[in-house]
């Protein structure tokens, strides 16, 4: 029987979701005339229950008797102009339907049989045209990539449609590679393999050498689609980082060098050099996350991932899966880390771009922003991980391709039953068990999808939705299993799905034998290659000890978590995959993992000629400050931060929002992961794409400096900081279609070199990283490339959280200091940006003097000599001072004459973004000890914190150049993103 149960608010009650939609229609779509929007939730059941049961469920499960009403098989709509009904396309994850089935089973006392799907109706009243309602449906209510929508001007009578039954036929196709080179390229393109000619040729050669051996397994000489798909996934840019491991022929002027792998030369080597002096590095580069020492009992793990392409197409799903995906990286690091914080960084185009200026196939940046934010809310909040730190960058270059960085930190006991938890072991005979969600067509080709640029023909099945609760259940049970030592190794099913998780774990035992027929599916109709590479979310693969397999399966069952034995690990040297009795894949492990040819890439650096702007110092500098404070890049992100649970787990001791009214911007987040210990984890980020447009070398230096100074600013130990590098670039492979590929490659080389140079001098090792290329969007044969973007995420230790310092001014009469030198280097600054310039003089880093400052600042915080510390970054000294003052609810008087600077221009001193600088306030009685510690560094006493709530700055000529109530400054800073 088909039942359609509709639920809505009682007429007298206010419909919060409807009210929000109305606001979005008016503000985001600029459509006036909507009188009201009300929502109706719809549950469609196709099951063998009676009408009485359906009515009982309407009352007991689907509606809230206090505020809602419901109807079974009759529409609830009364008065309307338009109805828009939005549901999911077949095959798209519908989380509520899964919960509904469990809810029905609980109530009726028997297992639910049949199907459930959900939808939502928007009942719209007012003067809205057909054209406008179309716009509202496609630009706001539904995302046609994953959802179906129907626009009605009459009540909907829905009798349901019979679902066509599909039978799975395990079809395996064979692909003939004994063809011309042109044909090889065509095969790669048409199958979305993203493999180049040379790689296709290597594969062809491999098969020619294997004819006899393949016969033994009942395989012909042609590769099966399962095999080809696995090779493509494993050899994808996403999984093998081909560009970062390529040989680069780098030219600069008439100098040329050959670099053998950017990763080995700059990233790994930096860490190797540093590691000789640091005894706290535990597991680097080889696992799903970097692992370092926390204290004598625990290690911590950290990883930041990107989820750019999925978020461009379906921002909500892209962001949820970004979060839950990186959560699994921590769950799959070593034997599994418990999640202690998230950190999320986004790059969008400005949200106020006119809707008509956004190409039709691209989602408006505000929609992407809101969708991503909601995704992070659902991913982070539902799993229960505090979002402790993050930032949002706005730049026109991200219009076709936003960047969504999702990071997670975790903690794990160093030993469980005497076993080192930072290492994975797999023994032949261990069972391959897949735990968590089921396999669907969602996320097929994700790895190869991220390895090509976006265009109008981007495959839809690469979009994933994410089911946080399925993952939460899975994680909870896996921790129980971990603590009972049921498994020896664990890894997540991310890019490449099973082919990648099983393929990688098989290296540890030297082989595996899998039967795909055992894999649980969301719906029938998946062919073997899809089962093998699907990136359906919420799945981990574990190597279970044979003696514990029954206990393991029983435990999972008792927690309502699905676990399926798919095969076992072997030492055959082969990846051997069957479907039923038939072999569908047989590949040498060595070939799959080591057979990939190395790319040779060209890079030529010609420093872009960017004119340094020439303009007079503005007369009204108060206005300039207000403009910068309210700019998207500098303004308060409170609207976003509050919608994230940033203190679940009770360990967030330095929150993202601090100060007298809990709204000042923290430099870093501090988490106390173990209640009984006063040791904390400090997390921060550094990112500045504007600098990258001028010179990525200095961008890299600046990003590392920013991340490091944020940690030190909050009180973190400079000697114990680890870094993650995360490069997001356009396509750096030179070709006819990509004529400036060599320039983009040169930008990459310079950024990597910048990383090396400053990391080695600071002694801050890289412990893991990520790179994402092809961040481009092609429309009407024009390619929009993002600015070269490097995110540096830092994780540090604060030995005693009692010594943490927040950025807000604390007390009137306190002395205000600037630490570090201010130089007239305003290239890429927010000040120039607001004036429409990029500029050429990009801020540089002087590692030797910076290091001295950081060490001194550590001594200051350890002795609790600072009342507040705030780093100077976007918007420079002026913004840092203003934020310090208004976050503390206090005024400030500062003289620019006392600021150590190489210029007399007030605007340059105020807004220069020179690195390695801090604004520090101290109680007067600490003056002598404070200055003694900074002896030898550039620093200066520049003013006072005042009781009078006025922000006053005197210029280099002793005249007052800025005077504004702190309330005015704060309001300018807060109003921009108060949506």
């Amino acid at each position: 029987m088909y039942y359609r149960i509709e639920v809505t608010y009682k007429d007298s009650l206010f419909d919060s979701p409807g009210k929000g939609i109305k606001k979005d229609i008016e503000e985001d779509l600029q459509i006036k005339g909507v009188e009201s929007v009300r929502t109706i939730d719809i549950y469609k059941l196709d099951t063998d229950i009676t009408k009485e049961d359906a009515i009982f469920l309407g009352k007991q499960l689907f509606s809230d008797p206090v505020i809602q009403k419901y109807a079974v098989n009759r529409p609830l709509t009364a008065d309307f102009k338009w109805i828009v009904e939005v549901g999911f396309k077949p095959g798209v994850t519908d989380n509520v339907s899964v919960t509904t089935m469990e809810g029905i089973s609980d109530i009726l006392g028997r297992k639910f049989k049949g199907s459930v799907s959900t939808a939502r109706q928007y009942i719209i009243k007012g003067n809205i045209s057909k054209k406008e309602i179309e716009l509202i449906a496609t630009r706001l209510l539904a995302n046609p990539v994953i959802e179906t929508y129907e626009i009605l001007n009459r009540k909907k009578i829905d009798k349901g449609t019979a679902v066509k039954k599909v039978k799975t036929v395990p079809v395996v196709e064979k692909v003939d590679l004994d063809v011309s080179d042109d044909e090889l390229v065509r095969i790669s393109d048409s199958k979305l393999l993203s493999l180049n000619l040379e790689e296709m040729q290597v594969i062809r050669k491999y098969y020619k050498s294997k004819v006899r051996e393949r016969k033994k397994y009942g395989l012909g000489k042609k590769p099966t689609d399962v095999e080809l798909e696995m090779i493509a996934q494993t050899w994808s840019e996403h999984c093998k980082h081909k560009i970062f491991n390529a040989i680069v022929e780098y030219k600069e002027g008439n100098k040329g060098i050959r670099i053998n792998s950017l990763f080995d030369t700059y990233i790994r080597q930096a860490t190797e050099k540093i590691s000789k002096k640091k005894d706290w590095l535990v597991s680097l580069f080889k696992d799903n996350a970097g692992i370092v020492n926390f204290d004598k009992n625990y290690n911590i793990a950290f990883k930041v991932e990107t989820h750019n392409h999925p978020s461009a197409i379906e921002p909500y799903g892209g962001a949820v899966t970004g979060i839950v995906g990186v959560n699994r990286d921590i769950m799959g690091a070593g034997l599994g880390g418990d999640l202690i914080f998230n950190t999320d960084i986004f790059c969008f185009a400005p949200p106020d771009i006119n809707i008509n200026d956004v190409p039709e196939k691209i989602l408006h940046p505000k929609r992407i922003f809101k969708g991503v934010r909601r995704g992070v809310e659902h991913g982070g909040n539902k799993i229960g991980v505090p979002t402790a730190n993050g930032t949002i960058i706005f730049h026109n270059g991200y219009i076709g391709n936003p960047l969504v960085f999702c990071g997670t930190g975790g903690i794990m006991p160093k030993k469980i039953k005497k076993v080192d938890t930072s290492k994975k072991v797999v023994k032949p005979g261990d069972l391959i068990v897949m735990v968590g969600g089921r396999i669907g067509k969602d996320g097929i080709h994700g790895a190869t999808f991220s390895s090509r640029k976006l265009d109008e023909a981007t495959p839809v099945q690469a979009v994933q939705i994410g089911a946080p609760i399925v993952q939460k259940k899975m994680m909870d049970v896996l921790f129980e299993a971990r603590d009972r030592s049921y498994y020896r190794a664990i890894t997540d099913n991310g890019a490449g799905g099973l082919s990648s998780s099983v393929g990688e774990m098989a290296i540890l035992s030297d082989g595996c034998l899998v039967n795909l027929e055992k894999a649980p599916v969301k719906y029938p109709g998946l062919v073997p290659w899809e089962l093998w590479v699907s990136e359906a979310q919420e799945r981990m693969t574990v190597a279970v000890k044979p003696e514990y397999i029954d206990d393991f399966l029983k435990l999972c069952k008792s927690r309502d978590v699905e676990a399926s034995v798919l095969g076992k690990f072997t030492d055959s040297g082969k990846i051997h995959v069957k479907y039923g009795k038939k072999t569908v894949l047989n590949l040498d492990l060595k070939f799959v993992h080591k057979g990939l040819p190395t790319m040779v890439l060209k890079a030529e650096w010609k420093k872009p000629y960017i004119k340094e702007p020439n303009f007079k110092e503005p007369v009204n500098l108060s206005n300039e400050l207000l403009k910068i404070l309210s700019s998207y890049n500098v303004c308060s992100k409170e609207w976003v931060v509050r919608q994230y649970d940033h203190e679940v787990r009770g360990g967030t001791v330095l929150k993202p929002l601090v100060g007298s009214e809990n709204d000042g911007p923290s430099d870093a987040g501090i988490i106390r992961p173990i209640f009984s210990s006063n040791r904390g984890v400090v997390v921060s980020n550094g990112i500045n794409p504007n600098y990258g447009l001028i010179d990525p070398y200095w961008m890299a230096m600046s990003c590392i400096d920013e991340a490091v100074r944020n940690i030190v600013s909050a009180g973190g130990n400079f000697e114990k900081i680890s870094l993650l590098d995360n490069f997001c670039w356009g396509n750096p492979i030179l070709s006819e279609n990509n004529p400036d590929g060599d320039f983009k490659m040169a930008q990459l080389v310079r950024a990597a070199k910048g990383c090396y140079d400053v990391a080695v001098k600071y002694g801050t090792p890289f412990i893991s990283g990520k790179d994402s290329f092809h961040n481009e969007y092609e429309i009407d044969e024009k390619t929009i490339t993002i600015p070269p973007t490097l995110l540096i995420s830092a994780i540090g230790i604060i030995d005693n959280i009692e010594t943490a310092v927040s950025m807000d001014a604390k007390k009137d009469g306190d002395l205000v200091y600037i630490i570090g030198e201010t130089l007239s280097e305003l290239g890429g600054s927010q000040y120039y940006h607001k004036k429409g310039f990029l500029g050429n003089n990009v801020p540089k880093v002087n590692p030797a003097s910076a290091k001295k400052i950081y060490k001194a600042l550590n001594r200051i915080t350890n002795k609790k000599l600072a009342a507040s510390i705030h780093d100077c970054s976007d918007g420079g000294l002026a913004v840092a001072l203003a934020e310090t003052a208004f976050a503390g609810g206090l005024g400030m008087k500062v003289s620019l004459r006392d600021v150590p600077a190489d210029t007399k221009r007030n605007d340059f001193i105020l807004f220069s973004e020179s690195n390695s600088r801090f604004v520090v306030t101290i109680h007067p009685e600490n003056k002598v000890s404070f200055e003694k510690i900074f002896n030898g560094c550039v620093f200066s006493h520049i003013g006072y914190v005042t009781k009078e709530k006025q922000f006053i700055i005197k210029g280099t000529n002793r005249k007052i150049i800025i005077s504004k109530p702190i309330k005015t400054l704060k309001e300018a800073w807060k109003k921009t993103l108060r949506w």
Binding site: S16, T99, I107, K382, Y644, G650
Partner: protein, 263 residues
């Protein structure tokens, strides 16, 4: 003689996520807390009567799908009803925080004026339409006849983190009885203790943040007392002189003391 510590249950289910801090708060308050999955009670591997205190912690049970707390409430009602009813009948204390409060309300345990275990009030989507994490001030009702607020005389400060916390009574008579019988335990207020429109974060009727049942042994509240147990959890500990103990701990201590002094 050392008194035996009361055994406190932190009930787990799919989507529970405030279990660690709730366990810590209970232990610090003098209980012996244990986290146990609901399925272990349904499968009769464990029994509720092993415990003297039941806490349903915050989180997103079953993803808040359909409505917050709804599916877990039904699971308890249809799978564990007898066990939990006898737990309550024995006057053993029950605390539901955030999602736990939503569960107790939807289960009909709070306020349960008519003793029929029917749902009499609800926690709807915030009038802001948003999930929000922020710190708010609370005034405890001195006349509330419940075991949880003993000694809470001053305005207390705790965080909320929810999207569905707007308290609504089914009708005017329930609203009246809640007020008359002093079932309101906590109300959102200003820092000086004024209960007004501006201090209401989610549109709750009468600024209600927490209520108890008529017997005074069941407490439901949206704010998170377990997130303010030590001073470092306070958002302004880096600028204000604060006692080491957080405002939330007293609620757990009162619960433990009530049990320790004999039910």
């Amino acid at each position: 003689m050392v008194k035996k510590k009361p055994k406190a249950l932190v009930l787990l289910t799919a989507g529970t996520n405030c279990d660690l801090e709730t366990e810590y708060a209970l232990n610090l308050a003098g209980a012996q807390a244990e986290k146990v999955h609901i399925n272990d009670f349904i499968a009769k591997k464990r029994k509720l009567k092993e415990y003297q205190i039941l806490t349903i912690p915050g989180g997103f049970s079953f993803g808040d799908d359909i409505a917050a707390g709804k599916v877990l409430a039904n699971k308890i009602k249809f799978k564990l009803e007898k066990q939990i009813e006898s737990f309550v009948k024995d006057k053993k204390p029950v605390i539901g925080i955030c999602n736990g409060f939503q569960v107790l309300v939807k289960l009909g345990f709070l306020p349960d004026i008519y003793k029929k275990l029917d749902q009499e009030v609800t926690l709807a989507i915030n009038n802001t339409g948003k999930f929000e994490d922020m710190w708010i001030y609370l005034k405890a009702n001195k006349r509330a006849k419940c075991i949880f607020t003993e000694g809470i005389d001053k305005v207390i400060y705790l965080p909320i983190a929810h999207g569905e916390g707007r308290f609504i009574s089914k009708d005017q008579s329930i609203d009246n009885i809640i007020k008359k019988q002093n079932l309101i335990v906590f109300q959102y207020c200003s820092s000086s203790g004024n209960i007004n429109f501006n201090s209401n974060p989610n549109g709750s009727e009468n600024n209600i943040a927490g209520i108890c049942n008529t017997g005074g042994t069941i407490l439901g509240m949206m704010p998170h007392p377990e997130r303010f147990i030590t001073k470092h959890q306070h958002p302004r500990w880096t600028r204000e002189d604060l006692p080491d103990e957080g405002d939330g701990l007293l609620i757990f201590k009162n619960t433990v003391n009530y049990v320790a002094n004999g039910l």
